[in-house]
């Protein structure tokens, strides 16, 4: 291993600027004559807009313009799209209601943008936004997806009768029913996946600028995928053709999925900047973030597992209702379908699976991908079912899982996915050893002696990352290809810039991507810079989400490096009068094998650019690009075990031990991977124990601030014990699988399995708040007393 190459714990290059406060975020930027935008937002969850009166607002000091949806539509700005077409089981395309960046007819969730004010200062813009008078005719509301499907429920969109967006299925229904008809045991559960607010540290922001002489727009924004943003803004919202629109996503403080999507505010800022003739900036405040960032999860599921007499799984039947909120956000349709139901086989050999998913409109914020996106929901269903079924048939949870593990690869599941490599039992054993599973009984006895309840629970997760083979996702309805691109630009002095379409918003790409180059060429990471986040600099890219930047983004860099190396070798061979096949690259030098002849990488780079002595016919320069389209998803997997102690007096659950044993394939930087796992685990534990998005029946968001929305904090989580095994991913050149979401995917069921174990109950809903746990103990105690 090179000192800073693959596998080294290189400190993050980007941290210096973050830690010293020198990060450059969108809201840090100003431009001459810049105006500030403030949005007029719906205070009702469902209402017809009778009128929008802007007279007072227009007269207020510093106000440039008060713009609404009528003008937006008149200017030809297109409706917000959903980029993944899902067909219902009857073959009909999904029912999509019109979603405008500024709504002027019917608002459908609290916080929906109705008008935008641009003024000299932020205060003036906000004052004027408050002075806009919107006259509403209130309409009945529905916030829960099951209620939305009922007869007589308030109807949101004329395009979607019964609020049904699609009624989708996957797997073989008849064969699965057959398995149930012949089952020796059936486990059935109703499982809810609670709605979450993403809460990245940096709220969304947009700074738009229009240059009338060039008819050219620039948008600085908090995006995980600036090229996708440009594509969508150009092709669908008609803001400007791509060559007239530059999108820059500078430092971005976390996204967790919520910054994949193109939101009304960015569109409105771009549109407004031309109308008002000055740069326009908007930065979300925390309340706006709660109300309008795309939320995550929110599923109601009924699941049934069929076992034969030997406790082998023979069938799995799942019915899910997914709440997509009031409008379809960019990738919302794919989350409860192809990112969810395709993972319902878990780590297990299940011959028959059938899943039916209904996606539903409600008067709540749009729901889309959030760290894990569909896979946490699937894992929760699978791993709660596995735990419960094991207990019902009297098997130890680990043994029941072992009995049903997939052990041969490749493995084709009944729900599209073809698992390429893995060793699930290795992770299970590793996790059980690390947590001293055998010592649990004794630890439980100690807790009981102290008047506490103790429980242990596991979760053997699998997920699909590295999205995705373009042709495959295209056939499933995706509107884009999911390759990645890279360019490796060697400078004349041998330093390197890597231009990547991946975007780092916390992942540490500036370090890990440099490590890959360092590993290949033996150069210090200091001489390698990673350039990303600017459509003017980087050729093209699909961005960062779905743990794809390693497996897909770095594979593209690897392919570009192949080309750079090949050309460098040709030049070196020519200069040293050796055969190309004898040239090796090591420690920043190109050597002729078996001799002491060598040239430094700098000498070869310089030769490429002076072009004084290149092989016959060779172009000058040393710069190569590559596009990499994956051949398959990658399948990170692992085993998480959680051990909790419950205080029966208060219902407080404390996580005493937590082990995460992951198989991410090749690991570039273990320190960064550990950071990703820690963050994911905390988010997953947050979902299981603390976070819960609640609307009241009028569609007002009750948890719209940190006073009521419980974010996990350091004292809510233990010191994690992390382990890894490595089965290399055969699908990409680096053998990588991805680690960005695993923690959030695998942990919620482990936590709930542990708590239900401690309480001796079959089920409970997330989050396991102290009040809820205490109530369960009361109810249970009363039941026991009554028996």
């Amino acid at each position: 291993m090179a000192a800073e190459g693959i596998g080294a714990r290189v400190l993050r290059k980007e941290d210096k600027r973050f830690i010293t406060g020198n990060g450059r975020y969108t809201d840090d930027m100003t431009m001459p004559r810049m105006g500030y935008a403030a949005f007029v937002r719906s205070t009702h969850a469902h209402a017809r807009i009778k009128s929008i009166n802007t007279d007072e607002a227009m007269k207020m000091p510093g106000v440039d313009a008060v713009l609404n949806g009528h003008q937006l539509v008149a200017d030809g700005i297109g409706n917000i799209i959903c980029g993944w077409m899902i067909h219902s089981k009857d073959g009909s395309p999904m029912n999509m209601g019109a979603y405008r960046a500024l709504e002027s007819e019917t608002v459908r969730f609290v916080g929906q943008a109705i008008a935008v004010v641009v003024a000299d200062t932020l205060q003036q813009a906000r004052d004027a936004a408050e002075a806009v008078i919107v006259d509403y005719e209130e309409l009945p509301t529905v916030v829960d997806s099951l209620d939305a499907l009922k007869d007589g429920a308030p109807q949101l969109h004329p395009e979607a009768a019964g609020n049904l967006i699609y009624d989708w299925e996957i797997g073989e229904e008849a064969a699965t029913n057959e398995a149930f008809a012949n089952a020796a045991h059936i486990t059935q559960m109703d499982l809810d996946n609670n709605r979450l607010v993403p809460n990245p540290m940096e709220p969304r922001s947009a700074l738009a600028h229009f240059d009338p002489s060039e008819e050219h727009y620039t948008l600085y924004t908090t995006s995980q995928n600036p090229h996708v943003a440009r594509l969508v803004l150009s092709a669908f919202y008609n803001v400007a053709p791509e060559n007239k629109l530059r999108v820059v996503a500078p430092d971005v403080g976390g996204g967790f999925g919520s910054k994949i999507f193109i939101y009304p505010e960015e569109i409105a800022c771009l549109w407004a900047t031309k109308r008002v003739g000055r740069p326009v900036k908007w930065t979300s405040d925390r309340t706006e973030a709660f109300l309008t960032d795309a939320h995550g999860r929110d599923h109601h599921t009924t699941a049934e597992l069929a076992l034969d007499a030997n406790n082998k799984i023979t069938g799995f039947r799942v019915k899910t209702v997914a709440n997509l909120g009031a409008y379809m956000s960019l990738f919302s349709s794919s989350v409860p379908t192809y990112l969810y139901a395709t993972l319902l086989s878990g780590q297990y050999n299940i011959p028959n699976i059938y899943a039916n998913v209904k996606a539903v409109y409600t008067n709540t914020a749009p729901v889309d991908a959030y760290r894990g996106a569909g896979r946490p929901e699937a894992t929760y269903v699978v791993e709660r079912m596995m735990e419960t079924a094991a207990k019902e048939v009297g098997m130890a949870p680990a043994e029941f899982r072992r009995l049903n593990f997939v052990r041969e690869f490749p493995h084709q599941t009944p729900v599209i996915m073809a698992y390429d490599a893995g060793d699930y039992e290795a992770s299970l054993d590793q996790a059980m050893n690390a947590i001293d599973y055998n010592g649990f009984a004794q630890r439980r006895a100690q807790s009981e002696a102290a008047g506490k309840l103790r429980g242990i629970g596991m979760s053997c997760y699998i997920e699909a990352c590295g999205i995705a083979p373009s042709q495959a996702v295209g056939s499933l309805g995706a509107g884009v290809g999911l390759w990645e691109s890279a360019e490796v630009r060697v400078n004349a002095v041998g330093t390197i810039e890597v231009l990547t379409g991946s975007h780092s918003h916390g992942q540490g790409h500036e370090t890990t991507f440099a490590q890959l180059v360092s590993d290949r060429l033996g150069l210090p990471t200091d001489s390698i810079s990673i350039v990303h986040g600017d459509t003017d600099k980087v050729q093209m890219g699909m961005g960062t989400y779905g743990s794809r930047s390693g497996a897909v983004g770095m594979s593209a860099i690897s392919k570009a490096l192949d080309k750079v190396e090949a050309k460098a070798k040709k030049i070196a061979a020519h200069l040293m009068e050796a055969s190309e096949g004898d040239i090796t690259i090591e420690n920043g030098e190109l050597k002729v094998a078996g001799t002491d002849k060598k040239l430094s990488f700098t000498e070869v780079s310089l030769a490429a650019y002076t072009a004084h002595n290149l092989p016959e016919g060779m172009e000058p320069g040393l710069k190569e690009g590559a596009f990499y389209d994956p051949t398959n998803f990658t399948f990170p997997a692992g085993c998480y075990i959680c051990e909790v102690e419950v205080d029966p007096d208060t219902g407080v659950v404390s996580i005493e031990n937590f082990v995460a044993a992951d198989d991410f394939g090749t690991i570039i930087n273990p320190m960064i991977v550990e950071g990703q796992v820690h963050g994911g685990l905390v988010q997953g534990i947050g979902q299981a124990m603390l976070e819960h998005t609640q609307y009241d029946e009028d569609g007002q968001l009750l948890t719209a601030s940190y006073m009521d929305y419980a974010m996990p904090r350091a004292d809510n989580v233990p010191s994690f014990k992390l382990e890894t095994t490595v089965t290399e991913c055969p699908g990409n050149p680096l053998g990588m699988k991805g680690c960005g979401e695993a923690g959030a995917i695998g942990s919620p069921p482990a936590v709930i399995n542990a708590i239900t174990d401690a309480l001796g109950i079959r089920d409970m809903t997330m989050p396991a708040s102290p009040n809820r746990v205490w109530q369960l103990i009361q109810d249970n105690g009363m039941k026991q007393a009554a028996e």
Binding site: Q123, R126, T703, P770, W774
Partner: protein
């Protein structure tokens, strides 16, 4: 935030005059409640009169009778770290040391906290349990008369809290159950063994703000032990109920926190 004018007072009478002259002025102490409210545009005072630079209402003194006098503009961290408070009223020091986070404790003040009288604030429990006296620029109040309901006090619009005097007590302890989101008390119980007997005051749980538990006090007078209060709870109907905790849960928490406080003050 709406536009506002900032004034820095150097004496209490100076502050009173500034408040009087303002259109719709408001006293500003640590700003940990008022500023967030203004940022959310839920309050829009024309003028802010900053009390934190008034020497006469800041600082902590141990008085001859053993009582502790704390100026209204004293921040929570100073109370938590004060040697006299820690020795004489450890429960009070502990309470102040667990308000919010370090930032809040270095900005937020005793005067601001009790003038605001958030039903989940910690200090009111200590004042009521210890039988503290609240001094203002006009008069004095007993804690019982001062706290009149949720976010309600007996203060006049233009009245300034200047100090709080806490009588000595042989045993004190405060134990709170934090709201999982805000970390304010969902039930905070202050117990004290005072010259006039055992006192138990509860914050965070009641529908009308801070209240005492006479049954528990009587039981503790006879037997200062956690067991003595183990079977006592406030009436469920008087408890707050919200998405974080039902009334029944809060009533239970009062019992559990009281037990733990008594045990801590043993």
């Amino acid at each position: 935030m709406y536009e506002t004018k900032y004034h820095r007072a150097s004496t209490v009478s100076d502050a009173a005059a500034m408040l009087k002259n303002a259109d719709d002025g408001k006293l500003l102490s640590g700003g940990q409640t008022l500023i967030p409210t203004m940022k959310q545009r839920l309050a829009a005072p024309s003028d802010l009169i900053d009390l934190r630079h008034i020497d006469e209402i800041s600082g902590i003194t141990k008085q001859a009778d053993g009582s502790i006098r704390i100026g209204a503009a004293t921040c929570h961290a100073d109370v938590a770290g004060n040697a006299d408070v820690r020795a004489a009223l450890p429960g009070l020091a502990d309470l102040a040391g667990h308000i919010g986070d370090p930032h809040v404790r270095h900005m937020g003040t005793l005067g601001g906290s009790i003038a605001n009288n958030d039903p989940a604030a910690d200090y009111p429990a200590a004042l009521l349990a210890l039988g503290a006296t609240i001094e203002t620029n006009k008069r004095e109040f007993t804690a019982k008369d001062f706290f009149t309901g949720m976010f309600e006090t007996a203060l006049d619009e233009d009245e300034i809290v200047t100090a709080v005097v806490f009588p000595a007590a042989s045993h004190t302890a405060y134990v709170k159950f934090p709201n999982p989101a805000s970390r304010y008390a969902m039930a905070g119980v202050f117990v004290a063994k005072t010259g006039s007997g055992a006192r138990v005051a509860v914050t965070g749980a009641g529908q009308n703000g801070v209240f005492r538990m006479p049954d528990m006090e009587k039981a503790l007078d006879g037997n200062w032990s956690a067991d003595a209060v183990a079977s006592m709870a406030p009436a469920v109907d008087d408890m707050l109920s919200d998405m974080h905790g039902t009334a029944a849960y809060r009533a239970n928490l009062v019992t559990v926190m009281a037990k733990r406080a008594v045990a801590a003050a043993a």
